[in-house]
């Protein structure tokens, strides 16, 4: 899509600070509309529930992960579970994202930590507070990165470091 029309921005101060928002005439009705350019991410990372080797994945809830995957040049799907092709069927309240939109599937149970994966694990509010506190200054942020991101050898080591437990583990 080259651009999309949006309504509601006409006359607001957004038009003063956003050079990329333009006003065009609707060729059909003759009305003025604000149009906005597309955001084309180089890479999108989405979190899914199930994925297979062909790149099909299911995600929970709204269709925005699918929207991201279709917008980005490359999309990496981090999934909770690897399943056989043909078993990536979206359940009730899940959305299927087709392999054509996915470039890599990473199997990482707990991959949404510290945010939640409804039905599997809760948000880790304590860890988010740790992050927010650490992000306040450069030194503590570097310390956070070393402790949780660059320090742990792999995803499992990270989960161990943050004390992650799946419902099964408890």
């Amino acid at each position: 899509m080259p651009f999309i029309p949006v309504i509601g921005f006409l006359g607001t101060d957004y038009m003063k600070i956003r050079d990329d928002f333009k006003v065009v005439k609707d060729p059909y009705s003759g009305e003025d509309y604000v149009v906005v350019p597309p955001i084309i991410p180089d890479v999108a990372v989405i979190h899914g529930l199930k994925g297979d080797r062909s790149g099909g994945v299911t995600v929970l809830g709204a269709r925005n992960d699918r929207l991201l995957a279709t917008a980005a040049r490359k999309t990496i799907a981090v999934v909770e579970e690897l399943v056989e092709p043909g078993e990536v069927l979206p359940g009730l309240q899940e959305v299927y994202v087709a392999p054509v939109h996915i470039d890599a599937v990473v199997v990482a149970p707990g991959g949404a930590h510290p945010t939640e994966c409804p039905g599997r694990y809760e948000i880790d509010a304590g860890h988010i507070m740790t992050y927010l506190t650490a992000a306040k200054d450069e030194a503590s942020f570097q310390n956070y990165l070393e402790t949780y991101i660059t320090g742990p050898a792999d995803h499992e080591a990270y989960l161990k470091k943050v004390g992650f437990r799946t419902p099964d583990a408890t």
């Binding site: 999309i4 949006v6 309504i7 509601g8 921005f9 006409l10 006359g11 607001t12 101060d13 957004y14 003063k16 600070i17 009305e31 003025d32 929970l60 809830g61 709204a62 269709r63 925005n64 699918r66 929207l67 309240q93 959305v95 945010t115 939640e116 994966c117 409804p118 948000i123």
Partner: protein
């Protein structure tokens, strides 16, 4: 004496009453979501809450942290993406009501939720627009709440359209007939908009608040309704719902602690 309640609980309870049963209402987070859920659990059980992120018919079990919080996935009946929400849902006229929190407001209900001060040199950066300009532009009506915000002659930044210059100017600019802010609920009172001039007037006072206190906050010569409503205190039922759904938002930490302590003491005395 009834249960002690907070000003936030009063605002939420008053805002909830603005929602009618079977309405489609788009809600973000915080006070607005608490009001929507309260309405659904009391007088408007068939109203449909939708989120900007693309879920319709949600029944969240706690106040979402953001518009795409998976908390919102409980109970949803239809899932789409943001483009659908702003095109096939909003622009087709399916949204009856939008709730919005306000930072600054002028006499015609135009709103700032972006910057205090100059955009390039601001003193406070607020949450910004999100989908507010479009929702407030095209929803059937808007229910506004303001706690901590201010009334101004001129907005520091024009984020979302109210009634523009008043009168018919909003509709002349292309927004749907009859749309616009219907009510503003602040920490002190309730404001509505004149049917013809579209100027804001004082319609009601919260318990214990005087007209003079309100006038002191408003920089223009505020018109006052002939009969002022007094905001009813939230009922026991409403307080119970709010405290189980959104204790941190509606009670504040201090009262939350007091109530929890009271419960603990009750439990202990029963055990003894």
């Amino acid at each position: 004496m009834g249960t002690k309640f907070t000003i936030q609980e009063l605002i939420v309870s008053r805002a909830a009453k603005e929602l009618k049963d079977r309405e489609f209402v788009v809600i973000g987070q915080g006070i607005a979501m608490a009001a929507g859920v309260l309405a659904r659990r009391t007088h408007a059980p068939n109203s449909v809450i939708l989120t900007e992120a693309g879920l319709l018919g949600i029944d969240p079990f706690k106040v979402p942290l953001h518009i795409a919080d998976p908390t919102c996935t409980r109970g949803f009946t239809y899932s789409c993406d943001m483009i659908d929400i702003f095109t096939t849902v909003l622009n087709q006229g399916y949204v009856d009501v939008t709730f919005l929190g306000v930072g600054q407001i002028d006499r015609f209900g135009n709103m700032n939720s972006s910057y205090l001060g100059e955009p390039g040199n601001y003193t406070t950066r607020m949450t910004g627009a999100g989908g507010a300009p479009e929702f407030i532009g095209y929803a059937g009506r808007a229910i506004l709440t303001m706690s901590g915000g201010t009334f101004v002659e001129k907005l520091d930044y024009f984020t979302s359209p109210g009634y523009l210059e008043g009168g018919d100017s909003r509709y002349a600019a292309g927004m749907p007939e009859g749309s616009g802010p219907s009510v503003l609920i602040t920490t002190r009172g309730v404001f509505k908009f004149d049917e013809t001039s579209k100027e804001m007037y004082l319609a009601g006072l919260h318990p214990g608040v005087t007209v003079d206190e309100i006038r002191a906050e408003v920089p223009w010569d505020l018109k006052i309704a002939d009969r002022l409503e007094t905001t009813p205190a939230p009922t026991e039922e409403e307080i119970a719902i709010l405290r189980s759904f959104a204790p941190d938002i509606t009670m504040g930490r201090k009262l939350q602690l007091e109530v929890v302590m009271k419960q603990v003491i009750n439990l202990l005395s029963k055990g003894a």
